[in-house]
């Protein structure tokens, strides 16, 4: 990598960028045949680097040596099928590839011209070879993720060859700050971090305030459990974020930006740093960018594991070197933000939309999406769905399409129960609303939010009271403690839901929960507290019967709530005594070779007997 930096020189104007782009697109390397290997976080964890090494080694030893390039790419999407490999020349998609499969692919496919059937994706009974024909890809509209999976994220040349930095060039050479803001406003782009505030309006505010310095910040503190789209963009196409930030900085009149990345994403930090260094080497960051008076530089600040720092004022306080506690607004960051200077803070995905938007123009961008929400949205699809991974669809796509057409339906074969969307600030969408269009307004009406785009599918085996309890525990843990409604309110709410899960609830608890939720929502200082009751309210709204069952019948229909579970030994028991031996509280009785019995009063519901029994003679309900 150092070599590529040494040999570069600053790009001084639009013509030089164009010349470089055409030189790169006509290069031998760009036009060579390629094998794309997913180097997203998910596939790396599944072992894609071993697969890559095997390809590199075995191709070098074969007669194909020098004719095919093995390329690491950003996230290709279907994490659950990893490691994923795509053969460039015929768009063949291979899934769950192991190092020992590489020989097969090289000999049979690359040399012999025959695809390797057992590594292809199965749709029903048919094996589909072409990536573009897979239902997972066919039903998506990859705009923000346009480069993810096509370029090498640690090579700026790949990004430039695909039209990278053209938008920055256009903005600096033929647009003014005002026209950039007008385009962004016209596009209808709304913040992708969750709240959906119009990006153009935000930039306009910050432009208005005059000061000797302004800051542009990128929120990559993707803390919502179940969301990994920002991680994938930073790992797969980091330059799109840098370019978007530079355009934003030009629009508001800033010369310094910070990217606040959470500490849990070491790979994203590494690749973004490489990208920043490369952009500096090409003069795309630094002084006099494209030969103009515009100066801009970027620095990474790492988070230290506090969820609340995803809130804009807390993030700012954290960059300043303090405890990440939010502060009251107004003044809004656009007026007094980082070090009391006018500041714009946008999410990774929002910035990644900007180059596209500037290149094609705001009105063209606005053709995708719904009346009030424009463009595409990336969702992180996870939970009990067949193909979990990263998907991008136009805003307003029905939830059903995501779960069934793209995600391939429920993986356990059990019925769909709910999709949790929007993380700890969001809510659950039950089966009767599966056709809800995924846009800001429609989701709000159902008590959920678009949020950052984490979408977790749950089947019948999930207890919705327990899900509410899980999120309360989360916000309780992550509440910074500065304001009372959030710190104490969520604690009391958790106490009540705990009680219900233990079978000690009363019917009046349900009203009490709603009343407390109102107080926490209205009186909390920041977004964390204001939205913390949402998971409880939405499950109360759509799954009230489950709460009532827990309280009135002392029953958890999914056998998730431990205190309400009963373990029973069936007639299939042959008296092998293994359950009796593992029971930590001696709650199991019975003579050898005779039917055993569990004393429910002593049982602590640890489940050891169930996992020990080899004869399926123990059930829990």
């Amino acid at each position: 990598m150092e070599d590529t930096i040494k040999n570069t020189h600053s790009i001084k104007n639009a013509e030089e960028l164009n010349a470089l782009q055409s030189k790169l697109t006509s290069s031998k390397e760009f036009n060579s045949e390629k094998i794309y290997i997913c180097a997203g976080g998910g596939c790396i964890a599944s072992g894609s680097m071993k697969v890559k090494d095997a390809f590199v080694k075995q191709i070098a030893e074969s007669k194909l040596n020098g004719t095919i390039e093995v390329m690491e790419t950003g996230c290709l999407g279907p994490c659950a099928l990893g490691p994923v490999v795509v053969i460039g020349k015929d768009d063949t998609f291979y899934q769950s590839v192991r190092a020992q499969d590489v020989k097969d692919i090289i000999e049979n496919h690359l040399v012999g011209g025959q695809v390797v059937p057992h590594l292809l994706h199965l749709v029903g009974d048919t094996r589909v070879a072409k990536k573009s024909e897979l239902p997972f890809y066919k039903n998506q509209d990859k705009k923000v993720l346009r480069n993810c999976g096509k370029i090498n994220p640690v090579k700026i040349e790949d990004y430039i060859a695909c039209g990278g930095y053209q938008a920055l060039s256009k903005a600096l050479s033929s647009m003014t700050a005002e026209t950039v803001i007008n385009e962004v406003t016209a596009s209808g782009l709304r913040g992708r971090g969750g709240a959906g505030f119009p990006t153009g309006t935000k930039w306009g505010f910050a432009r208005k305030y005059q000061d000797d310095e302004k800051y542009i910040l990128c929120n990559a503190d993707e803390g919502d459990p179940g969301a990994f789209m920002d991680r994938s963009i930073l790992e797969g196409d980091p330059h799109s974020v840098i370019e978007g930030m530079a355009i934003g900085a030009f629009a508001i009149g800033s010369s310094q930006g910070y990217v606040y990345v959470r500490a849990e994403y070491p790979l994203a930090v590494e690749r973004l740093q490489i990208a920043i260094d490369q952009a500096r080497a090409y003069g795309l960051l630094g002084h006099h960018i494209f030969g103009t008076a515009f100066n801009f530089d970027l620095e990474i600040r790492k988070g230290s594991g506090a969820f609340v720092c995803g809130e804009e004022t807390a993030l700012i306080t954290s960059i300043e070197g303090n405890r990440g506690e939010p502060r009251p607004r107004p003044p809004f960051p656009a007026e007094k933000g980082l070090w009391n200077k006018p500041t714009v803070l946008n999410n990774v995905e929002t910035f990644s939309n900007i180059p596209l938007l500037i290149n094609q123009g705001g009105l063209k961008f606005a053709e995708t999406g719904t009346d009030k929400s424009k463009g595409t949205k990336i969702f992180a699809l996870a939970g009990t769905v067949n193909i979990s991974g990263l998907v991008e669809v136009p805003v307003g796509t029905p939830l059903r399409k995501l779960v069934y057409d793209i995600g391939g339906g429920i993986s356990t074969g059990k019925p769909y129960k709910a999709a949790q969307i929007g993380g700890p600030s969001g809510g659950c969408i039950p089966a009767e609303h599966l056709d809800v269009p995924l846009d800001y307004e429609s989701l709000n009406k159902l008590g959920a939010i678009m949020g950052s785009g984490g979408l977790i599918v749950m089947d019948e085996s999930s207890c919705m009271v327990d899900v509410a309890r899980f999120f309360l525990e989360f916000v309780q843990d992550e509440s910074c403690g500065k304001c009372v409604p959030c710190r104490e309110g969520t604690a009391r709410m958790k106490q009540i839901v705990d009680r219900i899960c233990q079978g000690q609830g009363q019917m009046s608890d349900l009203d009490e929960l709603e009343r407390l939720a109102g107080t926490v929502t209205n009186a909390s200082l920041c977004g964390l507290g204001q939205t913390a009751p949402n998971p409880v309210l939405s499950t109360l709204r759509h799954f009230k019967d489950e709460y009532i069952e827990h309280i009135r019948d002392k029953k958890c229909r999914t056998a998730v709530c431990k205190d309400l579970i009963v373990f029973e030994i069936l007639d299939a028991c042959n008296g092998c005594q293994s359950c009796k031996k593992v029971c930590p509280v001696e709650a199991i009785h019975g003579e050898k070779k005779q039917h055993h019995i569990i004393n429910t009063d002593l049982c602590i519901r640890c489940g050891l007997c169930l996992s020990t029994c080899k004869f399926d003679a123990i059930v829990k309900y």
Binding site: G41, G42, A45, S46, C79, A80, G82, E222, G223, D224, P225, G226, A227, F228, R231, S232, A263, E264, Y265, P266, R301, K302, G303, S304, G305, A306, F307, S318, I319, E320, G321, N322, R323, G324, E325, W339, A380, L381, A382, G383, T384, S388, G389, L390, Q420, G423, G454, I456, M458, S462, V467, F470, F471, F474, D477, E478, C480, C606, G607, S611
Partner: protein, 174 residues
């Protein structure tokens, strides 16, 4: 491996403190330097010892109370030494609905420690995390920077074994 550990480039406490001084000197003019300095300290020592807190407070000219306040606010900073391998069980939503709690229980039983505690041999520290962004592979656990995916409670013993064996191998090398 063993050689690197034995080299004289300052692995003893005093050597580490000297390196910390160098790090603080390079970072101290940055605006908001305290957190980057603490992050460097955490990775240098594996935790934040009292001597380091004193030094940071003095060199950055920040009150001790503020340095301590920042350390205790963020979960990545630890005031106690941690094990060689920090195991973090993801308790994010996707992992939770796929049974992460049972993995946590299995780990507690295997290691005989609670969350936040370190085994007496200083090999493992058990901790929990809130989503590692690997939801497509849920449930996951991280051991230092390695991600283990689709973990079942019955896999726990095997996973721990691969790390405790590494310790034995390292010892033999020495």
């Amino acid at each position: 491996m063993a050689k690197v550990e034995k080299c004289s480039c300052g692995t003893d406490e005093e050597g580490l403190l000297e390196r910390l001084t160098e790090i603080i000197n390079t970072l101290k003019d940055k605006p908001g330097a305290l957190i980057p300095v603490l992050q460097a300290t955490q990775s240098l020592f594996g935790f934040i010892p009292q001597e380091a807190i004193l030094k940071i407070s003095e060199m950055l000219n920040e009150p001790l109370s503020k340095v301590y306040g920042v350390i205790t606010f963020y979960s990545f900073f630890s005031l106690k030494p941690r094990g060689k391998y920090v195991i973090r069980v993801c308790l994010g939503t996707a992992c939770y609905v796929q049974g992460a709690n049972e993995i946590l229980t299995a780990l507690k039983q295997q290691l005989s420690v609670e969350i936040g505690e370190t085994t007496p041999d200083k090999l493992f520290t058990l901790d929990v995390g809130r989503c590692f962004g690997a939801c497509g592979l849920a449930p996951v656990i991280m051991v230092n920077d390695d991600v283990h995916q689709w973990v079942k409670p019955s896999d726990v013993k095997k996973i721990l074994g691969t790390y405790s064996r590494r310790k034995v191998v390292n010892k033999e090398e020495e």
